[in-house]
């Protein structure tokens, strides 16, 4: 029975030991704000925590929470990006009495039912970044639909390949084969590819969220298909991995790389010409807008089909139940240094 003592101590230490570190996050959002009236508990869920894209979104969100003052913001999500873990978190937040849950939906199939249940219990649900099914949320803060992304990527590649009839073999390096968002984008990409009959998709390879793997796979693809003209790197690690492979193979400019990523991740490739253009929206603005919309929804001040939403950063268009962030930014050699996220 002697083991009891250390076991107890261990448990106590563990739990207590985590105390101080945590309080920082919890209060960071609301500090310094006027505490007039009720504060809304808003939970912001990224697809995966610990990824720069979402981290910069969260920064924007925290700015918004400070500016608005009546928001108690919590930013948390699964570090492994598993939809199941995200679903568990949502369920917990409902129990904790969330007012608004804003979800970047990693897998509509898994999260949809959970979100519906949350709404049944009176929690306002909005989606941002990646949408869930329409009936599982009130509004979608829309920076781009999967269709826009898919079409956009293919169009960008087509444009970079040039000519009226863009020609050449292309390949996709995705996240995991099971990644729901990427799979949806790929559906639209394949659809769009039909528009360019001479662009031939030769392979789709998973990178398992491993940059090294993305790098190696891209390198192998270039050698296995010597005529390869373009690679889509459609996850935040696949894009820089693919770009690095092209750069190291000395094929900068000969093999084009397109994808979605934050400017910070891609800055060096844009500057040395490996990547001509990076497509992305302003992530901080996205986070900011999401929190604004969350506040409006909590107050009941915003309903679907309103003509526009008045943001602190200007008027945002609405399209049905979508709040539109505005046009994506195309980062090029010329403007990339203006952005830091």
């Amino acid at each position: 029975m002697k083991a009891l003592v250390p076991a107890l101590l261990a448990a106590a230490l563990l739990v207590v030991g985590c105390g101080p570190t945590s309080d920082g996050t919890k209060t960071a959002s609301g500090t310094g704000a006027p505490t007039a009236g009720k504060k809304f508990k808003v939970y912001l869920l990224p697809k995966q925590k610990g990824v720069p894209y979402f981290t910069s979104c969260a920064e924007g969100a925290e700015d918004a929470a400070k500016e608005l003052g009546d928001i108690e913001l919590t930013y948390d999500g699964p570090t492994d990006g598993k939809p199941e873990a995200a679903a568990e978190m949502i369920e917990k937040w409902v129990l904790k009495g969330a007012d608004v849950i804003a979800v970047s939906c990693n897998d509509p199939q898994v999260l949809g039912p959970v979100l519906k249940k949350a709404r049944d219990q009176g929690v306002k649900v909005i989606t941002w970044d990646a949408d869930a099914s329409q009936d599982s949320r009130e509004l979608f803060v829309n920076q781009a639909t999967p269709q826009q992304i898919g079409y956009g990527l293919v169009d960008a590649m087509a444009k970079d390949l040039g000519g009226a009839e863009p020609t050449g073999q292309v390949a996709i390096v995705t996240a995991r084969l099971t990644a729901a968002n990427q799979n949806e984008w790929m559906v639209h990409m394949k659809e769009r590819l039909k528009k360019y009959p001479k662009m031939q998709l030769v392979d789709v390879k998973p990178s398992n969220e491993d940059q090294k793997l993305a790098f190696e796979v891209s390198r192998d693809l270039m050698k296995a298909y010597p005529d390869l003209k373009g690679i889509f790197g459609i996850s935040s690690v696949a894009f820089p991995g693919a770009a690095e492979a092209v750069k190291q193979a000395g094929k900068s400019g000969k093999v084009l790389v397109t994808g979605l990523a934050t400017p910070n991740d891609m800055r060096s490739y844009v500057k040395d010409g490996t990547v001509k253009s990076v497509l992305l929206w302003n992530t901080k603005d996205l986070g900011f807008l999401t929190i604004e919309v969350a506040e409006a929804v909590a107050k009941g001040a915003l309903k679907p089909n309103a003509p526009y939403f008045m943001s602190h950063r200007g008027e945002k268009k609405m399209q049905g139940d979508n709040v539109l962030l505005g046009d994506p930014i195309v980062f090029t050699k010329d403007n990339i240094d203006q952005f830091n996220f």
Binding site: K49, G50, V51, P52, F54, T55, A58, T79, I172, L177, L201, V202, D203, V204, K205, P206, N208, E209, D210, Q211, K212, F215, E216, V217, R219, D220, L221, K223, A224, Y225, P226, V237, P240, G241, A243, E244, Q248, N264, D265, R267, S268, Y269
Partner: protein
């Protein structure tokens, strides 16, 4: 000197057939630049597999190396990046090596002195270190590795890519260590019969501690040549490497219960497992084949493992 056991032959055979088949299907496979790339691809795993071989021959296992690599890469990134630490090359190199050694020592201490079974101790470390990595990077990746660090991964010395050079060095030292030094032979002795080792007064604890520390150190070396190959250090770096390295070692014929195995076999294992994926791409099967890639990998591993069951079994019964 000693004849190659059946496992090495089996793995070598599977490797040979695979390479031959792919080469016939796509002559680009064995072009010098691809061979070079394959070697670069193998290098970090070969380095870690050397360390893992000693650990497994001792009858232990270290499944924390994936997360350890992640933390070491994060440390390298934050130390080297001009926007974070901005430290000079030697600081970074020795920092990573020292940290790797220290983490390996922690594993070793848990196993040797706290007497926690190694698979459990390192399982715990696998989880803990991944969490620490997340905390260290707090959601931002390092994207500005300075050129002198990148050079470690993409540079060439005397016509040989740096990672390959380092891997060759590590392999040579490891093989020497294993077969030509007292320490190496003691590793085999302890793994072969731990009880006897104790009775004979072999320094079991020190040898085990050293093996875990070496594993940590080599993980540091592997990170130094692999992380700088890429422009971005991300928080998920190294995820799943532990199982890959263990699989390489085991496929290469090292007995999971200790005492038996050779680094030559392990190198064949590393080569086989690293080549499978590339080979599948060179077969140009198209995107539908991607969905079967893992299944094919699994079946190949299973084949290699089952391959020598006859010889293993015979040997087991003679020893019984």
């Amino acid at each position: 000197m000693k004849k190659l056991p059946a496992r090495e032959l089996g793995v070598g055979l599977v490797l040979f057939v695979l390479v031959l088949a792919v080469q016939l299907a796509n002559p680009a496979f064995l072009r010098p630049e691809n061979v070079r790339d394959l070697l670069i691809q193998c290098a970090p795993f070969a380095i870690m597999a050397c360390g893992m071989t000693f650990v497994i021959i001792l009858g232990e296992i270290d499944i924390s190396v994936g997360s350890m690599a992640g933390l070491l890469a994060a440390a390298l990134g934050t130390w080297a990046s001009p926007s974070h630490g901005g430290r000079p090359l030697l600081d970074c190199v020795f920092g990573v090596l020292f940290l790797g050694l220290a983490l390996g020592l922690v594993n070793g201490l848990l196993v040797v002195f706290a007497r926690v079974p190694s698979i459990v101790a390192t399982l715990g470390m696998l989880t803990v270190l991944r969490g620490v990595t997340e905390l260290v990077l707090h959601g931002e990746w390092v994207t500005d590795l300075p050129p002198f660090i990148r050079q470690l991964g993409i540079g060439v010395s005397g016509g040989v890519p740096n990672p390959v050079l380092v891997a060759l060095l590590v392999v040579a030292v490891s093989i020497t260590l294993a077969s030509l030094t007292p320490w190496g032979r003691r590793v085999y002795a302890i793994g072969s019969n731990p009880e006897a080792a104790k009775v004979r007064g072999l320094p079991v604890k020190q040898v085990k501690l050293a093996a875990f520390a070496l594993m940590g150190l080599l993980t540091g070396v592997a990170v130094l040549v692999s992380a700088p190959q890429l422009s971005v250090v991300e928080s998920g770096y190294g995820t799943g490497w532990e199982l890959f390295v263990v699989t390489c070692v085991v496929v290469g014929g090292v007995s999971i219960t200790g005492g038996r195995g050779s680094l030559w076999g392990v190198l064949l294992g590393v080569a086989l497992l690293s080549i499978i994926r590339t080979a599948l791409i060179f077969l140009r099967l198209g995107d539908q084949a991607s969905y079967w890639e893992r299944a094919i990998q699994g079946v190949l591993i299973l084949t290699a493992v089952l391959g020598d069951r006859v010889s293993a079994r015979r040997r087991a019964e003679v020893g019984a």
